[in-house]
Symmetry: C2
Subunit: 199 residues, 2 copies
Amino acid sequence: MAIHYPNGKAYIPVTKTTKEKKKDYSFSNRGKTLEDEINDANEFYIAQDIAVIHKKPIPIQVVKVDYPSRSSAVIKEAYYRTPSTTDFNGVYKGKYIDFEAKETENRTAFPLKNVHLHQVEHMRKVSKQSGITFLLVRFSALERYFYLPFEQLSLFWDRMLTGGRKSIALSEMETSAIEITPKYAPRIDYIKIVNDLNV
Amino acid sequence: MAIHYPNGKAYIPVTKTTKEKKKDYSFSNRGKTLEDEINDANEFYIAQDIAVIHKKPIPIQVVKVDYPSRSSAVIKEAYYRTPSTTDFNGVYKGKYIDFEAKETENRTAFPLKNVHLHQVEHMRKVSKQSGITFLLVRFSALERYFYLPFEQLSLFWDRMLTGGRKSIALSEMETSAIEITPKYAPRIDYIKIVNDLNV
């Protein structure tokens, strides 16, 4: 049955296109990866002129390319390379922002094997250049999010290197990191923490 | 014939490995692309703790991946995507640096078709966020290099959009941009200009 407004106009139900779906800043993460959630936040920040932060493309070593026509190139053989830096970087109020996002299914600790040595090295260099650098951690099973400044990550990393535990306990995360409570628009508002801590 | 030093020690000619070649900060560009030259400068800046700036990977859309063994992945079909941002970004003294590098064989002008609309849009957003953003131009036939701040590029871009010329004359570049004179270590020392203009 067609539904009509009192003025006689037909009611057209709102159907979401894929594009609109992408801009759904809701409370639920709807099975999204942490990367998706950060991309959503970044899209929001750019649209609102709050910050300009992008995910870097995955580095790929191209070995063989075919040119079926003059204007198109098809890559026929290529390999994933190990990223030498972090996943995300950009600018907020003139300041350089650089971070890595990691999720774990673990309910009691964040295993440090999720972070690679070259990423820690990169963050150390950024930190030395007075860049703002941190780790965003999602405990997926708990739906809890933490912003761990590099200075703190560095302490846990060094503890591991000197024979200590190879993970950060959830209880340690609660005291060393800043918890991000999911909200609306954007769901994971990490720039708020950047602002509170640095600006 | 083997050559010997007076002390009897054999003379071993220095052979450059590919790795050593990369660290050759000489006056000559030896047929290098502008991108190679900037990568050389970036390597120098990182080694000397001056700045942390990297080229972003080229964005590639992966369509098909084979897994011949558990640990390896071979990309069998993929396509180049249009970059939505600039080529290089990073941090210098806490500040966000973001730029595009372009070379032209033209001897009298830099054709603006070398720069893409989405790159100008991105630079505009970065500039609005108080990031330091610019265009590095090489006139390859003349071996001359220019650092054109985004504010200046923007004027030439808008002139084109309003029906004016579609290029920046070399004479205009000489007055609107800062010329970089190649020197030793690093050859193209663009961070010096960043520092002079912004810090």
